[in-house]
């Protein structure tokens, strides 16, 4: 009965009914951790109060349940459906990475804003700050971003309008090189959005290829980017079975130099 006075003081009732001060709450937490007797007493008080609350229960409007449920689960579902849409068939494509999409959208927006800013030359401080905030928000790899409905909608719109699938080309050599592209099966557009390919000597360029019906089709040339991020529109590709990158002379070749192939992805 070490805590007899404590229990008799009514502090547990105050705690359970919600009238305990912050100081009292702290004290109760302490005692609860060390006294089984206090814990049992509190539980009895709580059960009594819960029964009382149930006695005075009222049924809220039925539609509220589904409204709350939608609010909690809709954002998650939308995210799930969207990503399922882009999930690989039997692992043919790399699994869609949300952060990489966000990064590429951010890049796209930043590029767009940058261009717009350049065109307009003079912007108000305010809109610059807004651009900056938007860019920072989008480029942060924060999951909260995707749950934010507005951003979700713009991401979702972009992706569903574009209908692109992400393809990651990986190294055919020992070096851990890779490149990420978006390929849209409907519009056949190809966008190169990032690579860690090293810079090439003067007079050389990377060239992308799609293998269509067993034949290599030129998808365009590009240079390495020091930042790794890029947004390069490549030539459209109808239904490639494979994407590959070779090193060719400046301006590209008519057919790929097979022994210079550095990246590849089978669809």
């Amino acid at each position: 009965m070490k805590h007899h006075d404590f229990i008799e003081s009514g502090i547990l009732e105050a705690y359970a009914t919600g009238i305990a001060s912050a100081e009292e709450q702290k004290k109760v937490s302490q005692i609860l951790a060390e006294s089984k007797e206090a814990k049992e007493e509190l539980e009895e008080i709580e059960i009594c109060l819960e029964r009382l609350a149930r006695y005075f229960a009222l049924e809220p409007n039925r539609k509220r349940k589904s409204e709350i449920e939608d609010q909690i689960f809709m954002a998650d579902d939308a995210l799930e459906n969207l990503s399922r849409h882009y999930l690989p068939e039997k692992g043919r494509y790399q699994i869609f990475q949300w952060w990489s999409v966000a990064a590429s959208i951010a890049f796209l927006l930043a590029a767009g804003f940058g261009w717009w800013g350049y065109r307009n030359l003079l912007n108000t401080q305010e809109s610059l700050a807004q651009m900056k905030a938007e860019y920072e928000l989008l480029s942060s790899e924060n999951l909260k971003l995707y749950k934010d409905q507005q951003k979700m909608a713009s991401l979702g719109n972009y992706l569903s309008n574009e209908g692109a699938v992400q393809v990651i080309l990986s190294s055919t050599k020992k070096d851990p090189m890779k490149a990420t592209i978006f390929w849209n099966p409907q519009t056949h557009e190809v966008w190169l959005i990032g690579s860690n390919l090293p810079p090439l000597p003067e007079g050389k360029q990377y060239q992308m290829w799609g293998i269509v019906s067993g034949k290599p089709v030129d998808a365009g040339v590009f240079d390495a980017s020091s930042s790794g991020s890029m947004l390069v529109p490549m030539k459209p590709m109808e239904s490639p079975s494979t994407f590959a990158v070779t090193i060719e002379n400046q301006g590209g070749s008519k057919s790929p130099t097979m022994n210079s192939m550095c990246l590849k992805a089978d669809l």
């Binding site: 009514g10 609350a53 229960a57 689960f73």
Partner: protein, 181 residues
Amino acid sequence: MARRIQISEESLVALVASGSQEGFRILYDNFSAALYGVIERIVPDQGQAEDVLQDAFLKIWKNFAAYSPEKGRLFTWMMNICRNLAIDHVRSRQHKLSRNIQSLESFVGTEKGSVRMEHLDFIGIETALKKLKPEQLYLIQLAYFQGYTQEEISEEAGIPLGTVKTRIRSALQTLRDELRN
């Protein structure tokens, strides 16, 4: 009438913590009416009270990791979230809490305001509530259903601040004794 699934508090807590939609449904079905009853006593407008309930469930869901069984029962934790949101709602609209006091006594023995989900338990509570002195019931109401502070209870009920806790304890003791019989 809401279906109530019998599930141990421990399993329910684990289910909800896992983010399961079924967990949400059980949580809602088991507790929404009791919680709404509390909110409605503080926020009498039905639409507003339901908005508070909605906010409360979102908050409960979002902050579920903050619930710890060490600190008490799940219902107590949820009830506190509901009551605090309800009080914030009312205070933000500059209502005076005292305006909304409804006597619990008026509910005892009447059908008004109660949805009888656990009939047997209800008869027991009704009998027990009738054993309470009106001022005891009033104290429980102020503390538990209205969310008054100890100072406000002291002022409202006209009892010294130092005895607020012991009076409430004795009221709840009476209730517990009656319910045990």
